[in-house]
Symmetry: C2
């Protein structure tokens, strides 16, 4: 869902965008409409940049929470490790998204965040964010919307896991990725997966073999073309029908 920024002056928007360019905080600062001084203030919070290589942790479950992380570029997964050693993926995250919201409640991270490709994030010390929210209420309001959207997203995943079958789950998943790529200016019908079949399965509550079979089935029906990690959506409307009840993962 893109934000409507028509209410802000052209100049403001330009400045905000340039401020965001420093740190790519699309999620957090783009739609807020700040004046010069406020931009300065926000800019101060998000100074810390960090690079993570593919396979490295951004944070680990159990560690103390201090900062949220805005993804500047790259692709990450979040997952919880069960004590039997296997991990369950709770989400895949890309540019512009905010990580760490779950840790605010206890100030302990409840999940691991691992880069699926080389990534770059901005660190946002949470205490600072709360302080600045008081000075810039529109920023605070926006932050509340982001948290709320995460809750809606989770409810949609619960729905998917609770009532959809394998093929419908995979269709929802692909359409969700498709939409997120589109929003970011990439092709909605032609993209590369960053995660393995096993990680997809973990996220969708399926075994990797089932995921693989579901891919093959959609390919047999000419709805998508699969070449390992490369996916081409040939018929997005039929894919939407496959998804079943319209509720896509938001």
């Amino acid at each position: 869902m893109l934000h409507d920024s028509s209410q802000y002056s052209h100049l403001d928007i330009k400045q905000i965008k340039s401020s965001c360019a420093t740190c790519s905080l699309r999620e957090l600062c783009l739609p807020v409409g700040l004046n010069d001084q406020e931009i300065q203030i926000v800019g101060d919070v998000v100074s810390n940049k960090r690079k993570i290589r593919r396979g490295e942790y951004l944070h680990q479950a159990g560690l103390k929470f201090q900062s949220l992380f805005a993804i500047r570029s790259g692709f990450l997964k979040t997952c919880v490790l069960e004590e039997d050693g296997r991990q369950q993926v709770t989400g895949f995250h890309m540019t512009g998204e905010l990580l760490g919201l779950d840790a605010i409640s206890t100030e302990i991270h409840t999940c691991d965040a691992i880069a699926l490709e080389d990534s770059e994030v901005c660190e946002i010390p949470f205490t600072k964010l709360e302080e600045i929210g008081i000075i810039v209420p529109s920023l605070m309001r926006h932050f509340h919307r982001i948290m709320s959207r995460e809750i809606v997203r989770d409810h949609n995943v619960m729905l998917l896991l609770g009532s959809k079958k394998a093929e419908e789950r995979l269709a929802s998943f692909l359409l969700n990725l498709s939409r997120r790529f589109l929003i970011r200016g990439y092709s909605e019908s032609d993209f590369n997966l960053r995660m393995t079949r096993e990680e997809i399965g973990s996220y969708l509550g399926l075994k990797l073999e089932t995921v693989s079979r579901a891919f093959s089935k959609l390919q047999d029906e000419n709805i998508i073309t699969v070449d390992h990690k490369h996916i081409r959506i040939n018929d997005i409307d039929r894919l939407k029908i496959k998804m079943g009840n319209s509720s896509c993962i938001t």
Copy 2:
């Protein structure tokens, strides 16, 4: 999870509690530690009380969002209606909990909230809450923790739906209810369900027959005693083992 209030003076706590008694906003105001003036301010936001009879809606999906609702007493479910007519339960909610967080992002309710028994709620106009959060930062901070806790809770449900089997799901569900009753001063081992088998099934991603069989199985093993809606937990430790990997619905 009870809040540690030892950092606040005895007097403060008494006053907060009495303020809460007016509206039972345990979640929202108890742990914050406010002075007299601040209590006055908070009291002003939450003035509107509302009664809902069993079966009635507190809010419906699609309607405009204006207020959060703090449950003063009673028991509600939230659910989304799929276009095929069947509904999926996304949560059960009791005294002290906060409803409507999902609607902040779009200002449209994304789910229905229906009373499972006669209930009473306090209406909290969200705009007012945000304004007051600026004056009383500790309130704002607490609100953030509540939202974050909802995200953690949802992740745990995702885990349950994605990887646990029927009996484990039911055990998790019962232990979750048990803990929430305990926190509220009721018996943790002896309580009445407010929802039907079908509603439990919808929440847990199971059919009602499967829920019923899982109840019977746990009863056969003498772990619980089931008499229709009345549940007695005979061996909470074995129930915890049944739950499998320790992650309970928080």
